[in-house]
Every structure is written in structure tokens, then in C-alpha cells.
């Protein structure tokens, strides 16, 4: 019984932190720029492929430092891509209706899909976890792979870093000001345009980092963009659009829902997940922790 409970909690945390890693950049960009970036999953996917390319030079046994370095390379590569996307796409969409933004970011997703097919092809690919993370730990009858623990720790570290930056630094306070009233922020001398750019860079870098950190967690294919993005959108909506803390809390909440559902309603996978999202939207449409509440 204790083993069952630990297994459920552990599986919930893995789901939660993997999803949070993907959702963090999505919610950051939405919170500041109010852009619902459909293409976020695409850049997460390319981040994974970039890390795969770096790691394929190490053969079957990958050292942990190389794994982390590959995730960093993916993050930097996607951050750089964010500059291009901001210049070519986001800045041109500032004064148009939101639907055009949706179409533009959906088009970007198709571009990501094409880039992956062009460079890496259609074959399914995979990466082994780093050699230091191939073991398992046993806790009260529960089996805990060390790579899964790594995913959980990565999610927590990324959350803490973002939370500290947003809530404990002057840069974070500027971000919060712009999120609430960019016009007034401009009046008082804040370079809003520059903050927007750095937000996009950070959001894209987080997508790349997630791709790199999770590259050994699942298969790589052009379908990858869609696999996490649906649950990431769920987390962002339930947490409160634009709230990093909300996304973190929501990912744990929905992770628990998902793990309990898989354990006790095994014949109806996913049903409880979507029912919970619907229920939260009815009862608390602003999400568990709206941006106003967290700021």
C-alpha cells in the first residue's frame, strides 16, 4: 500500500516536472507579451533534436556533464532563434488582432516541423540517459529510476530559478510592471521593447532547455511537438495564464490527477485529466493562481 502511494506520487512528480519544463517558457511569454505561442512545442522539439545531435558524438555511453552541456547548447540555440522569431514575427504582430497571432504561431509550428524533417528526417530517434543515471532506487516497494529523479530535480530547479528572478530581483519587478501596464512602464522610462525581446529569448531558451533535458525521456520524431504541448497548455490554463507559480502548482495538481487516473481508472486514460481542466475552468476560470494573484 505504501509502495503504491509512493509510486503514484513519484509518477505524478515526473509527469508534473516534465510538463512544467515545457510549460514554463510558454507561460512566461504569454504572461508578458500576451502571445499564446502555438509554436512553443516546435521549438521544444528542435531543442531535443539539437541535443540529440550533440550527444550522438558520444556514442552509447553519455557522461552526465555532456548531457547537461547538450541541454545548454539546445537552450542557447533556441534563445538565438527567439531573437529571429521576435524580429521577424512577434514585433510585426503587435497591433493586429489576436487571431492573426494564433495563425502566425501555428505557421511557425509548421516551419519547425519542416525544419526537423529536412535536417533530421522522419525516422524515430532516441537518446540513452547519461551513464550516471541508469540505476534505480527502491523506496518502500516503489521503483525510482535515477533519470526520473533527475527530471524531477530539473523541474524544481528551473522553477526556483524563475521564481527568484521574477519575484526577488529588480528585473523581475520590471517584468511584472510591464505585464500589468506596458504603456505606463514606457512612460516611466522602462525600455519595454528590450524587455519584450529578452522575454522572448528567455521563453525560447526555456523551450530549448526542456528539449535538451528531456531528450532521453521520450522518442524523438516530428510528432514530438504535439505530445507535450497539449498537457503544457492544460497546465498553463489551470495554473492561471501567465503565472509561473501557477503553472508549477497546476503541473503537480494535474500530475496527481493523471497518476491517480492511470492507477484507478486504467480503462479511461486521459479522461480525468480533461474533465479536471473543464471543472477548473467552470469553478475558477482565472486559474488556480492568476497572474494578478501572484504578482
Amino acid at each position: 500500500m505504501a509502495g503504491d502511494l509512493i509510486t503514484i506520487l513519484f509518477n505524478a512528480m515526473i509527469w508534473a516536472m516534465a510538463t512544467f519544463l515545457v510549460a514554463s517558457g510558454l507561460t512566461l511569454v504569454f504572461g508578458i507579451l500576451h502571445v499564446l505561442n502555438f509554436s512553443h512545442g516546435g521549438f521544444f522539439m528542435i531543442g531535443g533534436y539539437v541535443a540529440y545531435t550533440v550527444l550522438s558524438t558520444f556514442g552509447a555511453e553519455i557522461p552526465l556533464w555532456a548531457y547537461l552541456a547538450a541541454a545548454l547548447v539546445a537552450s542557447v540555440a533556441m534563445g538565438g532563434t527567439g531573437i529571429a522569431v521576435d524580429t521577424l514575427v512577434f514585433r510585426r504582430l503587435k497591433s493586429v488582432d489576436g487571431v492573426y497571432v494564433l495563425i502566425a504561431t501555428y505557421a511557425l509550428l509548421l516551419v519547425c516541423d519542416g525544419v526537423v524533417k529536412l535536417i533530421w528526417g522522419l525516422n524515430y530517434l532516441s537518446v540513452s540517459p547519461p551513464r550516471e543515471l541508469l540505476d534505480v532506487l527502491f523506496l518502500g516497494g516503489a521503483i525510482m529510476p535515477t533519470f526520473s529523479i533527475f527530471v524531477v530535480v530539473s523541474g524544481v530547479v528551473v522553477f526556483l530559478a524563475l521564481d527568484v528572478v521574477i519575484n526577488r530581483t529588480s528585473a523581475g519587478r520590471i517584468l511584472q510592471v510591464i505585464a500589468v501596464d506596458p504603456w505606463m512602464a514606457g512612460i516611466v522610462g522602462i525600455n519595454v521593447s528590450s524587455v519584450y525581446r529578452w522575454t522572448v529569448i528567455t521563453g525560447f531558451a526555456l523551450a530549448g532547455l526542456a528539449g535538451g533535458l528531456l531528450v532521453a525521456n521520450q522518442s524523438l520524431s516530428p510528432d514530438l511537438a504535439g505530445i507535450f504541448i497539449l498537457q503544457a497548455f492544460g497546465v498553463v490554463i489551470v495554473g492561471g495564464m501567465g503565472s509561473v507559480r501557477g503553472a508549477f502548482v497546476a503541473s503537480i495538481f494535474l500530475g496527481l490527477v493523471e497518476a491517480l487516473s492511470a492507477t484507478y481508472l486504467p480503462n479511461y486514460p486521459g479522461v480525468l485529466f480533461f474533465a479536471t481542466i473543464a471543472l477548473v475552468l467552470i469553478v475558477r476560470p482565472e486559474g488556480l493562481l492568476s497572474r494578478q494573484a501572484t504578482s
Binding site: 509510486t7 522522419l122 524515430y124 532516441s126 540513452s128 521503483i143 525521456n217 521520450q218 492507477t263
Partner: protein, 420 residues
């Protein structure tokens, strides 16, 4: 930026959907005298990976037939369209091609597309040969005389797999399944169970213990909860009918749990997909395959298909869908020769009861339900090759299709044994 309204979102998605059929169309040149064959297959979208094998198989077959003088003195020409594995897009493309004179069509991979083709072909006066569409309804509830399946149906494939296990693993009597949460996934498990219930008592002289299958979501990023359930099960054998990237992710996440270490793993249809991705991490497993060139070495059609495929693509590990499309084009050619004409009624008459040579040996297109009888091919893959593949095929078998196929019952649902 202005706000995002719900109406705006719906309008945007609607516009995108409407624009989709006009993307990704390709046409190949053809001569006026040529017999046109429409290839409607997935060249983008979730089944693009398979669609490329189908297209290559069609092109190789047409090149081979044309180089040998064509059919009744006429060349074959392909008209190619992308269906994105979407019934609506496939229907639009199929109608357009029939309008262009390509009444003979091939390439359907998706079951939902295959089921949509029957009424359409009846209405428009065409005929279609599927290339891997797995639904059993094709030759049962939704049987339509305009749709032909030249490959093994799920009844044959899964029962052949169960038969092999009864022969090779008579002591492995307790089974569970990793079954994707869609109708076809549940059907594959039900048919496999039917095979276990027939062949274990007959061959292994043992009653199988059928455990509840583990239903897994389609297209998920995390399967650990389901892996945990399977690892705790007392099953000695696991039947996997998850597919593609889902299987790769599931197998990858199952490794630390040693789920497959002391269990027999029978995989429904991943061919080389899982092994190609996991390489040296591939767990030993049996898998169904439409065609494996080593199994068919010495068959001139197989040897030539393999040589032409490698020359065309540079890929030395083709998937079996190449051969399904290749066999389909040859079926058309033989049916036209048999009936002397290429109009729809003549070709349907020619296909029914047709016996023809393919890369996997002789096949018979059963006249009653348009289902081919062919040998079912299974291979055993495990890690350990020293080359870039990282895996190797260490065993392969053919199961006589006649021993595992159901009697023809077009229009009626499949009848299966159930565990007591």
C-alpha cells in the same frame, strides 16, 4: 497586441483547416496512353513516415513493370496525392483523381481512410487497394467490393503471433497486453487473445491465463505509470500493440524497470521502428512485418525489390510497407491482364480470386471478402550488432496464412473466443 477572442480562435483554426487540402499536392508526368493509377497516401502528417515507403513501393513496381513492356502494351503512370491520413482529404483527392481518369487507386494506410473509401468508390466508380490499413471491418462489417486488401489483416497477423508463441514458448502461459486506447488497439488484443485461447490448448497442451490488458493513452510523453502496472503483473508474456513513437517512448521508459528482462515480448506491427530508434537499447522482441527481405531471399521479386529500393533510397533496412504497395501495383497489372481492360468493373472482376506473385511469395485475393491470403512474416530483433544499426534480426519465420485466416464473412462482425 489586442486580445484573443474565442470567435477569433475558431475563425483562425477554420481557415487553417480549409487551406490544408490545397497543400502538399504532387503530380507526376504521364502519357496520354498510359494507365493511370492514383496513389492517395500519407505524405505529410502523422503517417508520413509510412507513406514514403508506400510511395517508393509503388514507384519501384511501376518502373519494373514499365521496363518489362507495361501492361497489355500500355505503360503505367502514377498520379500522387497526399491524404494526410485524413478521411476528408483522402476523399477529396480520390474524387479528383477519378475525375482525371485514375479510377484505379492505391496507398491507403489509415483504417479510417480505408473505411471511407468504400462508399466513395461505389459512388464514383473507382477501386482502391489498401497498403497496411489494419481494421478488421474492411472485410467484415464494412465490406465493400470496391476495396481490396492485399496484405495480412489483423485476424491473420495476431493469430499467427499467438500460434508462434504456442509453438516456441509453450511454458509462457500468462499474458497481458500494452494496448493503446483506441478501437484498433483493443481489437488487436482481442484477436491475439483469441489466438492464445485456440493455439495454447491445441499446440502447447496448456490453458492460457489471460490477464487484464493495460490500456495506455495514445501519443503521451510519459508511460511510467503503465510500465509500473505491467512490471507488477504476474504475466510471463506481454503483447504490445502501441505503435511508432509511443512504443519507442514506452520501451525507453520501461528499461530501468527491467519490464522485458524476464518476459517474452510480442509486438504487433512496429517492424524496425522501435529497433531503429533504440538501437543497442532494443529489448529482444518478436514483431510482425509485412516483408523482410532476408526471409524471402531467393524469391526474384523480393531480391529485385530490395536491390531497387536500396538503389533508389540508399536505405538498407526497408520497412514492409514497400512490399505492400509493390504487391498492390502488381495485383492491378495482373488483374488488367486477366480481364483485358482497365475499367473499374473489369479490374474488380480481375482482382477477385486473383493469384499473383509478390515479394513475399504467392498471394490469393479471396473473392468472397477481398482479403488476401498470404504468409504472415514475423522476425525476432535484439540488441547487439556491432555496426551502426546496434540491433540485429536473429530469427524469422513465415506462418502459413491458410492456418490463421478466418472464414470469409463479409458484412458480419468478426467472431472471437473470449477468456472465461
Amino acid at each position: 497586441m489586442t486580445g484573443i477572442s474565442r470567435r477569433g480562435v475558431i475563425a483562425g483554426l477554420g481557415a487553417t483547416t480549409l487551406a490544408a487540402p490545397f497543400i502538399n499536392r504532387r503530380a507526376f508526368a504521364q502519357s496520354g496512353d498510359a494507365i493511370r493509377i492514383g496513389v492517395v497516401t500519407a505524405l505529410s502528417g502523422p503517417q508520413e513516415f509510412i507513406g514514403n515507403f508506400v510511395l517508393a513501393g509503388c514507384q519501384i513496381a511501376v518502373d519494373q513493370i514499365n521496363a518489362a513492356g507495361g501492361v497489355l502494351g500500355r505503360q503505367l503512370a502514377l498520379e500522387i496525392r497526399d491524404d494526410r491520413a485524413n478521411p476528408a482529404e483522402a476523399s477529396a483527392a480520390a474524387r479528383e483523381l477519378i475525375g482525371l481518369g485514375a479510377n484505379l487507386q492505391i496507398g491507403t494506410i489509415s483504417s479510417s481512410v480505408a473505411l471511407a473509401m468504400g462508399p466513395l468508390m461505389t459512388q464514383e466508380g473507382g477501386v482502391v487497394i489498401t497498403c497496411g490499413a489494419g481494421t478488421e471491418k474492411l472485410n467484415h462489417e464494412n465490406y465493400n467490393e470496391h476495396v481490396f486488401r492485399p496484405g495480412d489483416g489483423p485476424y491473420m497477423r495476431m493469430r499467427a503471433q499467438a500460434r508462434l508463441m504456442a509453438e516456441r514458448q509453450p511454458d509462457v502461459t500468462s499474458w497481458t497486453g500494452l494496448v493503446p486506447d483506441h478501437e484498433y488497439g483493443r481489437t488487436t488484443w482481442a484477436v491475439y487473445v483469441d489466438g492464445l485461447l485456440q493455439f495454447y490448448p491445441e499446440i502447447a497442451k496448456a490453458d492460457p491465463d489471460i490477464l487484464d490488458p493495460i490500456i495506455v493513452p495514445y501519443g503521451a510523453g510519459d508511460y511510467r505509470t503503465f510500465v509500473t502496472q505491467a512490471a507488477r503483473s504476474k504475466a510471463q508474456g506481454i503483447y504490445n500493440s502501441t505503435y511508432g513513437g509511443d512504443s519507442v517512448t514506452l520501451f525507453q521508459q520501461a528499461k530501468p524497470f527491467q519490464l522485458f528482462k524476464d518476459r517474452v515480448l510480442m509486438d504487433s506491427a512496429n517492424e524496425f521502428i522501435v529497433a531503429g530508434a533504440l538501437k543497442g537499447d532494443t529489448p529482444g522482441h518478436w514483431t510482425g512485418i509485412h516483408w523482410y527481405h532476408e526471409t524471402n531471399k531467393g524469391n526474384p521479386l523480393s531480391d529485385q525489390l530490395y536491390a531497387d529500393y536500396v538503389k533508389k533510397t540508399g536505405n538498407t533496412q526497408p520497412m514492409g510497407w514497400v512490399s505492400e504497395a509493390h504487391a498492390g501495383i502488381y495485383a492491378y497489372a495482373k488483374a488488367i491482364e486477366k480481364s483485358g481492360k482497365s475499367d473499374t468493373d473489369a479490374v474488380i472482376a480481375g482482382l477477385k480470386g486473383l493469384e499473383w506473385d509478390t515479394a513475399t511469395g504467392k498471394r490469393l485475393m479471396r473473392a468472397e471478402d477481398n482479403q488476401a491470403i498470404k504468409d504472415v512474416e514475423l522476425i525476432y530483433i535484439e540488441a547487439g550488432a556491432s555496426g551502426p544499426l546496434g540491433y540485429k534480426v536473429t530469427d524469422y519465420v513465415k506462418v502459413d496464412g491458410n492456418t490463421v485466416i478466418e472464414p470469409p464473412t463479409p458484412g458480419e462482425p468478426m467472431k472471437l473466443r473470449k477468456p472465461s
